[in-house]
């Protein structure tokens, strides 16, 4: 078999991850953990999985580190070119479509779960999820990565439409903390970003500053 001829002795890098994005009036709040693993070793404990694609469009990366970095670089190039041609800020939906095109076309070769989130003048804050397989759908709140399994219940019960920016930040930080607590492949620090008409505000919540829940 082909695998036997070209055997690989090393494991690839994974952002196994917990990632999340929430829409609010005027923008989006995105968040991610900071762990990248090769097998059982943490290759990078301070990874930045919130990657800027354009001035007011970000993507949250989960899955294979190599695949998501390569896809994000390609989409950044394509969107930048498109924006220059258009002479206008690109739409978040355009960015999400570019991700979807690539993730669907090469679905057999790729392992990438991406959440595209940002702000554009036409439709305001938007969150689009492009999971493995290459589907694309818009959601008011979206979670992804291996750690997301543990927080679907928390997110479904605690999300309310019409939350303010601060409430969204608190909601995201708490959800990601809970995911990092239970998922071995997620951990490190919580990286948050708010993308709105005013621009991008980034923050980091270090391990000892994470919200505390009961330790039963």
């Amino acid at each position: 078999t082909l695998e036997a001829c070209c055997s690989r002795a090393w494991t690839s890098c994974f952002n196994s991850t917990s990632i999340m994005a929430v829409e609010f009036e005027g923008g989006v709040v995105i968040g991610a953990d900071s762990r990248t693993t090769t097998g059982a070793y943490i290759a990078n404990r301070v990874t930045d999985k919130l990657t800027p694609i354009h001035e007011r469009i970000f993507c949250c990366r989960s899955g294979s580190a190599a695949d998501t970095q390569a896809i994000a670089d390609a989409v950044t190039y394509q969107l930048g070119f498109h924006s220059i041609e258009l002479d206008e800020a690109p739409l978040v939906q355009t960015a999400a479509s570019l991700f979807r095109e690539m993730c669907y076309r090469y679905r057999e070769e790729l392992m990438a779960g991406i959440i595209v989130a940002g702000w554009d003048p036409r439709r305001g804050g938007q969150v689009y999820t492009v999971p493995v397989g290459g589907m694309m759908t818009r959601q008011p709140v979206s979670v992804g990565g291996s750690g997301s399994s543990y927080i679907y219940g928390y997110v479904d019960s605690n999300y309310r439409a019409g939350m303010s920016k601060e409430e969204c930040l608190k909601f995201t930080a708490e959800a990601l903390t809970l995911a990092m607590e239970r998922d071995g492949s997620s951990g490190g620090v919580v990286r948050l970003a708010v993308v709105s008409e005013q621009g991008v505000e980034r923050q980091v919540i270090l391990g000892n500053q994470l919200p505390k829940f009961s330790t039963v």
Binding site: L2, T36, T38, A43, V46, A66, A70, E109
Partner: protein
């Protein structure tokens, strides 16, 4: 987009043509009772650290072929450009050729832009090439250098993912080296402190990992200056034999002696001159 790079194959994907041939050869060799040659790997401990004025890269010097040391003093810190160097772990041939290809392309790029190359450019070129080969090029690299943007350090994995960090380790001895870094790394260290830290991290790999050994090479890169210290520390000096195993002539007694002359006659003699100019 126009590029001035040489040796860039833009045909999609990895060529699997030789895999069938290799599989047949391997099957044949195994039938005859021999084992196919193992690729030479650099078991390796490599690491890098960003300090106040630049970066310090470090590497051990052992190259292994299976369980045998193939080279006791190989050089794992490769030249990329005057201000950028790259340590390589994994398959020795892959790290050597990959760094040479990118070094060549980067020199052409630098001549085209008229500027000193940037570390981020080398990083992009390396990650895009490694991703194209989907991990089949076994090169795990620590790329470091100083450019107009400042000192930078990247770790690059065989599948094409990269991380930009203040301190990185790669190779089989990376866990031992990372333990040293996590204990003693501080931002904005002085040069001597940074060199000591890298030296100790590589030493941890050398003495605790079987795949790493021999000496410690260092490369200190600052703005406008590169100190390539090979070796920086000979951590494993070859011992001096205490006994002498040379025996004098006549130690072995001769019991009988028989001389048989061989009658060899010259049959044909011809002289062919070779133009060696």
């Amino acid at each position: 987009m126009a590029t001035v790079s040489v040796r860039q194959y833009h045909r999609g994907g990895f060529s699997f043509e030789n895999c069938k041939r290799n599989a047949l050869l391997e099957a044949d060799i195994n039938k005859l009772g021999f084992s196919s040659p193992a690729a030479r790997k650099t078991g390796t401990t490599i690491c890098g650290v960003v300090y106040k004025d630049g970066v310090v890269l470090g590497a051990d010097t052992r190259a292994t072929e299976g369980m045998v040391v193939a080279d006791k003093n190989c050089s794992k810190i490769h030249y990329i450009s005057p201000n950028v160097y790259c340590c390589g772990a994994g398959t020795a041939a892959d790290t050597e050729m990959t760094t040479q290809i990118i070094s060549s392309n980067l020199e052409l790029h630098s001549l085209s832009t008229g500027r000193l190359p940037r570390v981020a450019t080398a990083n992009r070129m390396l990650k895009q090439m490694l991703f194209r080969y989907q991990g089949y090029i076994g090169a795990a690299l620590v790329l470091g250098g100083v450019d107009s943007t400042g000192p930078q350090l990247y770790s690059i994995y065989p599948h094409g993912s990269t991380d930009k960090l203040p301190y990185v380790t790669m190779g089989s001895g990376s866990l031992a080296a990372m333990a040293v870094f996590e204990d003693r790394y501080k931002p904005n260290m002085e040069e001597e402190e940074a060199k000591r830290l890298v030296r100790d991290a590589i030493a941890a790999g050398i003495f605790n990992d079987l795949g790493s050994g021999s000496n410690i090479d260092l490369c200190v890169i600052t703005k406008g200056k590169v100190d390539y210290l090979r070796p920086h520390d000979v951590a494993n000096k070859k011992g001096v034999r205490t006994g002498n195993y040379r025996y004098k002539h006549g130690t072995t007694g001769v019991l009988t002696k028989a001389v048989t002359p061989l009658n060899l006659e010259v049959v044909e003699e011809s002289v062919q001159t070779m133009d060696t100019s």
